[in-house]
Symmetry: C2
């Protein structure tokens, strides 16, 4: 797919710049290890899809935005896998960064990727300074405190969790960043794109809960049953499996309905449908919900 090729090329250039000599070789290697091979690259794919729907008149800005978003996502995986959080041994079918490179380099690889994300935006999206700044504002808002993914992870250290704020920050934030950054990269107003991102994020959270409850570790490439193990709230424990599947489908219908009017609206709706199909775990696809 063209979006994946664009992303991989731009990501490879940005990582190469971060590895330029003289640099500490093991940390340089850990950066590449943390971002490749990618998972589904769903966030940057959504970003580039929204940019395309809005005209994508400056592809170099959209590419920078997609790279920055994916770097933040990968950084969050590296830090979330650390012993003090999930203590995960595996990620994407290979040893987690801290298992492969040790904990100090895992902390530093995450830090370096966060920094590199903003550097990419300032350097490669700077051809239109106002767009670069808008992208940095969106990405920082959805990454840090009080409502980015850092806040989402932070809620897990609270005795009383604000569930709405928790889910919105933990999973929703980077999907909102994806839709809003796609719009901003193409020079469109990012505000009307928040709802689409929020709904996709909500769907993704429910799908993740389903996968965590249903899939095997080999299929997932990371440990399963983590929600139960860590006592985290889950749609499956609240609604049951078939309830959660129905909820997922409702959310996705709402997501498609929320797409703002734009030149590529129909193609974007089709893309969301494709991503939506992937979200439903194979175990329950077409068998759990009556009439499916």
């Amino acid at each position: 797919m063209a979006f994946t090729k664009r992303l991989d090329a731009a990501l490879s250039r940005a990582i190469g710049r971060a590895q330029a000599a003289p640099s500490p070789a093991r940390l340089a290697s850990a950066l590449d290890y943390a971002v490749t091979p990618g998972g589904a690259r769903i966030r940057p794919t959504i970003l580039l899809s929204v940019a395309a729907a809005c005209g994508d008149d400056r592809p170099e800005i959209s590419d920078a935005a997609a790279v920055a978003l994916e770097m933040i996502h990968c950084a969050s995986l590296v830090h979330d896998d650390l012993p003090c959080f999930d203590d995960a041994d595996m990620r994407r079918g290979k040893p987690a960064v801290h298992r492969a490179y040790g904990e100090p380099l895992a902390v530093l690889a995450g830090d370096s990727l966060i920094v590199a994300a903003f550097e990419v935006l300032a350097r490669d999206a700077g051809t239109v300074p106002e767009r670069a700044l808008a992208l940095i504002r969106i990405l920082s808002t959805r990454t840090g405190m009080p409502m980015g993914i850092c806040a989402g992870q932070g809620w897990e250290s609270e005795a009383q969790i604000n569930l709405r704020a928790y889910h919105m920050a933990k999973t929703g934030a980077l999907f909102i960043a994806a839709t809003q950054m796609g719009a901003a990269a193409a020079g469109a107003d990012p505000e009307p794109w928040e709802e689409l991102g929020a709904r996709i994020g909500e769907a993704f959270q429910v799908a993740d809960d389903l996968r965590d409850a249903l899939c095997s570790e080999a299929e997932l490439g990371k440990p399963v049953g983590q929600d139960d193990l860590h006592g985290r709230p889950s749609a499956v424990s609240e609604l049951g499996v078939s309830g959660a599947v129905q909820h997922l489908k409702d959310i996705l219908a709402g997501a498609i309905a929320s797409i703002p009017s734009c030149p590529g609206e129909a193609a974007l709706a089709a893309m969301v449908r494709v991503q939506a199909d992937r979200l439903v775990p194979t175990e329950v696809r077409g068998q759990t919900v009556p009439g499916e």
Copy 2:
């Protein structure tokens, strides 16, 4: 001092924004804990001094730059103190963040401060977009890979250390950021300001080696003897105490000589001399170097 007041007010506003409800209360509290009470605030003071020397025609931009730089510095202290690095119990006379809030919130507080630094620049320095982007480029270069403080810390995981690259990245980077960001905040060309930052950084590294070798834990507010303990290279082990003191003085003389021509050149030289005096530990001030 006016610079300290400006910094404290701007830092307090930025931290307040990061704590806005609904946010996880313990992480919000950890952010404040990580940045207050400050140490000498030497990096933002240098930044604001250079900005003043260059005319400081947009104080809100200089303030944002100073806040961003101090946030990155504090984030690096929080992460460097983690058990997988220095495993330090104390920092600035109180328990380190991971001792006070636990390791997960220390990782997240560091991450959130890194993100907040770039957010402050994109939001509060955006009144002149080109300056905001220049500041983000400088700060990201001096924070991440391949030559920022992350790289500096990363060198400590290498079997073979490139000493020049290590010192420049580990300690020099944020002083170069200080001088270059001060110039860029005031609309001046940042390039000629690199040497001053590099020399101040070098002086600071030698002074830190001296303090680590000479001062008591109570005086320093953090564990001493860490360089010896972790086998890190040190100017004291290479040159001896009196050799290191003389080296420090030579570097500072070079720093003052390197100040680029600018409206406030004389006042800036005076500020560097004041900071320089503070750098020499009291134990060796005027007694170790013959003729002093």
